[in-house]
């Protein structure tokens, strides 16, 4: 009996692992291909099943990084700076506004509280491209076209609703007694928020920060619409320019994609512990 149960268990494990390995390959295969293209020294799109690079050359990377425009400027560094700046401002604005707004939604009673929350949710249901034209007109009127600040503002408005909902859900799980206790201890609202709520909400804040950062870092359409100077592009827009009407620089494109993905990968790596506890936040009382 015991042996039968053991073999059954063993078989089940083998089947599970076959599935897992299969899906891992499906996920990783395209990424390997991108690496292969980036590490080759040509711009061609060679159709081959083998994802292992045939040669290793970093020319594609250096050509992307040290590309110059007509005026002789190293445009990659301009674009890198733009992306970093926009992403950081978006994250900062997003977290700052979302934490305070979410706290209010979680703790205070005020007119239109539910309506406000619903409105936030509804804005998430429209595709970003739909708002492009009105946003373009607004940005134009405000003189914010081609401005990093303008782009950051637009990104913040799209990421804040999600952040508010996530954070509100987390704040709801923090027992009210903690605040009441602090209140009796002598703390005011602001002190309670800074000393009690924010430290406890760190996992949720990490998630929303990462989300805001990624929204800004990966966004392409709005950036391509609002920014029309090469030096004010963000990195995703730069990538798109390797794809031309007649020919595509696949090697540059792949190398650029890896460079753009790298910061997000690094961020994920450092925030992953927070991320998991942030996403499952509230499921179990700590």
């Amino acid at each position: 009996m015991k042996i039968i149960r053991k073999t059954k268990l063993f078989l089940a494990q083998i089947i599970t692992h076959i599935f897992l390995i299969l899906f891992s390959i499906v996920t990783i295969y395209p990424v390997l291909w991108v690496f292969k293209m980036a590490l080759s020294d040509s711009q061609n799109f060679r159709v081959s099943l083998n994802p292992v690079p045939e040669s290793i050359s970093f020319t594609n990377f250096s050509e992307v990084i040290f590309a110059k425009n007509m005026a002789g400027q190293y445009i990659f560094f301009y674009q890198l700076f733009n992306s970093v700046a926009v992403s950081f401002i978006t994250t900062l604005l997003g977290v700052l506004l979302a934490t305070t707004a979410a706290y209010a939604f979680s703790r205070f009673k005020f007119p239109l509280r539910r309506a406000g929350l619903m409105a936030f949710l509804v804005t998430q249901m429209f595709p970003g491209t739909m708002m492009m034209i009105p946003l373009y007109i607004i940005m134009d009127k405000l003189g914010l076209l081609n401005h990093l600040m303008g782009l950051a503002l637009v990104y913040s408005t799209t990421s804040i609703p999600f952040c508010v909902w996530t954070l509100k859900g987390y704040f709801d799980t923090i027992p009210k007694e903690l605040e009441e206790s602090a209140m009796i201890d002598g703390a005011g609202r602001l002190k309670i928020f800074v000393k009690i709520i924010l430290p406890l909400a760190r996992p949720a804040i990490a998630v929303t920060a990462l989300f805001s950062f990624m929204t800004a870092w990966n966004e392409f359409i709005l950036a391509a619409t609002f920014m029309n100077k090469e030096t004010s592009y963000t990195l995703p827009v730069m990538l798109q320019h390797f794809v031309g009407a007649h020919n595509t620089e696949w090697g540059h494109f792949a190398a650029g994609a890896i460079i753009v993905a790298l910061p997000v990968v690094i961020l994920f790596y450092f925030l992953q512990k927070n991320l998991v506890s942030g996403l499952t936040a509230g499921s179990v009382k700590g």
Binding site: A182, M183, I184, D185, G186, I196
Partner: protein, 364 residues
């Protein structure tokens, strides 16, 4: 030596639901007052109004002679211990206890002194650098009390502080609380639904039900002279037996009559009308010979508690519980004859639920 006075305090919610109804209470300095009642009786709301966590809808609240209705919690000179302890999870024990002092801008030296004193008193000085999640329930409870003590407040408020602990720890913490109060001697208001906590800890018990205060008094007075049927039934375990009966006057003599029993009252009572309820505590009933019995019935359930025995006797229209020493041998199904000490009975008006006083009691 803070005094707390509640004058006609009410809490009315937006939907006109009255959860606390004109509560009047005077708490002297150093008194340990326990507010007790079933869940939803308004006891916690009353406590939260005293703390300032809940707005007072009507009435006046005085702490140390000062009207504090509109004073925020931090300026009321109170400390509160919550049911779930409400320790700050991201701070260690020392920081938890120091939090209130830091906000009040005490010097680092003074903070250290106060925290270590309180920690010694509560025997948690070994735990100062642990985090709440590393502590057991009892230890967390101590830290929560420590956090209240370091502030040296005029009034301590406790909101069911022991109900999250297991039975053994609860008994232990209960006696420790009593010891602590003796030592510190601050005015204390303690909310619980546990009548044992109320009886053992209180100088004065306040019994509430449905938002109304039912009775205020020292534990023994509440136990012996309950004002109404609710108080009589709430305090005492197992609960008092209540038997519907008729009050009959025959010349100078008065009787209580049930379906198949009758009993001559030893003192003079004047109930509102002839419908009354006889109340007898389980410890005042005892088995007797058939000849001197007042009630007879069949033993239905026998609960052995080790040192004592609860017997539930079915007397036809009602069931009686009596408490006996464990050495008594009774079998379920057996017929049991019962009598009681006449002076231990309590009589209640059936309509109003109020206790009917004996004549001589009224004169007092």
């Amino acid at each position: 030596m803070a005094e707390v006075i509640l004058k006609d305090i009410s809490k009315i919610y937006d939907n006109n639901k009255i959860v606390v109804n004109k509560v009047n209470l005077e708490i002297k300095g150093n008194e340990f007052v326990v507010i007790v009642g079933p869940s939803g009786c308004g006891k916690t709301t009353t406590l939260r109004m005293i703390a300032g966590l809940e707005e007072i809808s009507e009435g006046e609240l005085y702490i140390n002679g000062k009207l504090v209705n509109d004073v925020p919690p931090k300026d009321r000179d109170i400390a509160m211990v919550f049911q779930n302890y409400a320790l700050y999870p991201h701070m260690n024990v020392f920081e938890n206890m120091a939090f209130g002092l830091r906000i009040r801008k005490f010097s680092e030296e003074e903070i250290k002194k106060r925290v270590s004193e309180a920690a010694k008193l509560l025997e948690i000085d070994q735990l100062l650098y642990r985090f709440p999640k590393q502590l057991s329930g009892g230890q967390r409870q101590r830290v929560a009390m420590g956090r209240a003590i370091v502030r040296n407040p005029a009034v301590f408020l406790f909101d069911e502080p022991l109900s999250n602990l297991d039975a053994k720890l609860r008994t232990q913490m209960r006696s420790e609380l009593a010891r602590l109060h003796k030592r510190i001697g601050a005015t204390t208001i303690y909310v619980t639904h546990d009548q044992v906590e109320a009886m053992t800890l209180a100088d004065k018990i306040v019994i509430m039900n449905n938002g109304f205060v039912q009775q205020i008094g020292p534990p023994l007075e509440i136990y012996n002279r309950p004002k109404n049927i609710f108080v009589a039934g709430f305090i005492g375990s197992p609960t008092m037996n209540f038997i519907d009966c008729k009050f009959k006057k025959e010349g100078e003599r008065t009787f209580l009559k049930g379906e198949n029993w009758s009993f001559e009252l030893p003192s003079v009572y004047e109930p509102e009308n002839s419908d009354v309820i006889l109340g007898i505590r389980p410890e005042n009933l005892f088995p007797v010979d058939p000849s001197s019995a007042i009630f007879r019935g069949t033993l239905e359930i026998r609960e052995v508690l080790g040192s004592e025995l609860y017997l539930y006797v079915n007397c036809g229209t009602f069931t009686i519980c009596l408490r006996q020493e464990a050495s008594h041998r009774f079998e379920t199904g057996e017929t049991i004859y019962l009598n009681f000490k006449p002076e231990t009975i309590r009589l209640f008006n059936k309509g109003s639920g109020l206790r009917v006083n004996k004549k001589e009691e009224e004169k007092k």
